[in-house]
Symmetry: C2
Subunit: 300 residues, 2 copies
C-alpha cells in the first residue's frame, strides 16, 4: 500500500499487457492473420481502466495477482471486442482507435468481425482455466465470474446499451433514458470488472458486496460522463480516437443534456457518491478511491 498511485497504476498496466500477451494465441499460429489482428487490437494501448478496477477491487478481498490476471484480462478482452465491433463501418465507422488505425482499416471487415467474436470467446476461455492462487472454492467462484461477465456483456448489458445507443441517434433522450443506456453500454462492464476482481479473493459479507456494487455503478456512470465531457473538450490527438464524434453524429450525451458545466457538476456528485460508498472498507479501498479520482479528473 505504500506504493504511490502512479507507480501502482503503471505496474498493473504492465502486468496486464504481459498477461494479455500470454493469453492471446501466438501470432504465428494458424490462422495467423486472425491471430495477428487479435494481438494488434488488444496489445500496446489503452488505459486498461477495467483491469485497474479489477486489481483495485481485489485489494478489498485480499485477492492474489495471479488470480486477478484472469479476471482483468477477461474483462479487457470483452472491452476490446466491443471496440473492434463498434468501430466497424456498419456501426460507428471509425478509423482511429488508441492512436492507430482501427482493426477493419488495418486488416479488413471480415477479419474485424472475427477478431471481436474470437476475443469474446477468449474472455470465457480465460475465466475457465484453472485459477492460479484463487480461493479454495475456485470452480464455484469461476462459474460466478462467468455469469457476471456474460450478463454484463450481453443484450441486457453492454450489447443492449449499444442497441439503445443506435436507436437513439437524433432522438432527444431524458436523463433517466440516457442513464439506462450508459448503465448498460459502459457501466455494466465497469461494474463487472470491480465484481470480478473482488471474486478472486476471500468471500465478502453481503453488506460489503452491496457497498462495492454501489461504488461500481457510480464509477461506471462517472466514467461515461467524463467521456462525454472529454469528447467535446479534448483533441483527437490527446484522446487517440476521433473527438467530437458523438456530437457530430447527433448522439445524446451528458453535455448535450446538461450543458458542459452541468455535466461537470454531475461528475463531481458521482465522484463524491462513489467515494462515500467505499466507507465500509477503510484502507482496503485506497486503490479504488484513487482510481475513482483518476477517472473523474483524467484528461484523455
Amino acid at each position: 500500500m505504500s506504493q504511490a498511485f502512479p507507480e501502482w497504476m503503471a505496474e498493473v498496466q504492465a502486468r496486464t499487457e504481459a498477461a494479455l500477451a500470454r493469453y492471446l494465441p501466438v501470432a504465428e499460429s494458424i490462422p495467423a492473420r486472425l491471430h495477428q489482428a487479435m494481438r494488434y487490437s488488444t496489445l500496446g494501448g489503452g488505459k486498461r481502466v477495467r483491469p485497474l478496477l479489477a486489481f483495485a477491487a481485489g485489494e478489498i478481498t485480499g485477492a492474489l495477482p495471479e488470480a486477478l490476471d484472469a479476471a482483468a484480462c477477461a474483462v479487457e478482452c470483452i472491452h476490446v471486442y466491443s471496440l473492434v465491433h463498434d468501430d466497424m463501418p456498419c456501426m460507428d465507422d471509425d478509423v482511429l482507435r488508441r492512436g492507430r488505425a482501427t482493426c477493419h482499416v488495418e486488416y479488413d471487415e471480415p477479419t474485424a468481425l472475427l477478431v471481436g467474436d474470437s476475443l469474446q470467446s477468449l474472455a470465457f476461455d480465460i475465466l475457465s482455466r484453472p485459477l492460479r492462487c484463487g480461493p479454495a472454492d475456485a470452480p464455484t467462484r469461476q462459474i460466478e465470474m462467468v455469469r457476471v461477465l456474460a450478463r454484463a456483456s450481453g443484450s441486457c448489458g453492454m450489447a443492449g446499451g449499444q442497441a439503445i445507443d443506435l436507436a437513439s441517434v437524433g432522438k432527444p433522450l431524458s436523463q433517466p433514458e440516457l442513464e439506462l443506456m450508459h448503465a448498460l453500454k459502459t457501466g455494466a462492464l465497469i461494474r463487472a470488472a470491480v465484481l470480478l476482481g473482488a471474486l478472486c479473493g476471500k468471500a465478502m459479507p453481503e453488506a460489503e458486496h452491496d457497498a462495492l456494487d454501489r461504488f461500481a455503478k457510480r464509477a461506471g456512470l462517472l466514467f461515461q460522463v467524463v467521456d462525454d465531457i472529454l469528447d467535446c473538450t479534448a483533441s483527437t490527438a490527446t484522446l487517440g480516437k476521433t473527438a467530437g464524434k458523438d456530437a457530430a453524429a447527433d448522439k445524446p450525451t451528458y453535455v448535450s443534456l446538461l450543458g458542459l458545466e452541468g455535466a461537470q457538476r454531475f461528475a463531481g456528485e458521482l465522484e463524491s457518491e462513489a467515494m462515500a460508498s467505499l466507507a465500509p472498507f477503510g484502507a482496503r479501498s485506497q486503490r479504488l478511491a484513487e482510481l475513482a479520482a483518476f477517472i473523474a479528473h483524467r484528461k484523455f
Copy 2:
C-alpha cells in the same frame, strides 16, 4: 430407448425450442428490437443437430434432460450467432436462412452484429446458471463445459475455421488443409455438442471419453462432407438456404476436391468410422448411432 428415432428426434427438437424460448430475453424487454431480432434468428427453425447430439451423448452418461437443456441451448446459441454473423454483407452476404430472410435483411446490419454478439454472451450465461439435476460436482463440470465451448468457438475453433475459409476463396486447398478448415469451422462445435452432453451426466473413464471424442470428430467431418454434397445436389427450396453458393464463390469443397462420387465414398467411410468408435458403449449409444446415420443420409 423403446421410442423410435423420428419420435425421439421430434421430442428433443420441440424440447430445445421450448428451452431456447425460455432462455432468450422476452421480446418486450428493453432493448426490444434487439431481443426480437435474437428470437427471430434463434426460434422456429433449424434441424437442431447440435442439441440432438448433446441429448444423444447424454444417454451415454445417464444425464438428465433438465441438465441437457443447458448444454444443448448453449451450443445452439453459439451456432446461431455464427450463422447471423456469417450471413452479414461483409462475410457471405446471404439473404436466405432456414427458409426466411437473414437477420440483417429482416432487421439491419448493426442489429445483426449485436444479435450475434449477444447470443454468444447468452451461451455462456446459460452454462453458468445453477445446473438443474446436474452431477454432484456441478460447478467443476460447468467450468469444464465453459472451457470446451469457449475453445470450440474461438480463434482456434469455429471462428478460426471461418478465417481460414475466408482466406481460401479461389485458392486450391489440399485434402489435409480442407480437413483442418472444416475440423475448425464445423467440426469444433459439433464435437463440443457431444462433449457437453456427456459432461451433464456421470463421469466417464478416460478410454470412453477418447472413444466418444473420436466419434465426435468423425461425425463433425461427416456433417460437413454431406453439407458439401447437398450444396451441389439439393435445391435452395429444400435446403432453406442458398444452394450452390460455395461452388459459385469458388470455395474449395469436398465435391470440388474429390468429385461427387469421391465425396459420397468419403462420407460412407466416415460414417463407418463413427459407428465403429461407438463400440465400447453398447446400447447406451443407440441415439448417437441413429444420429450419425441421419447426418449421413439427410436430404436437407
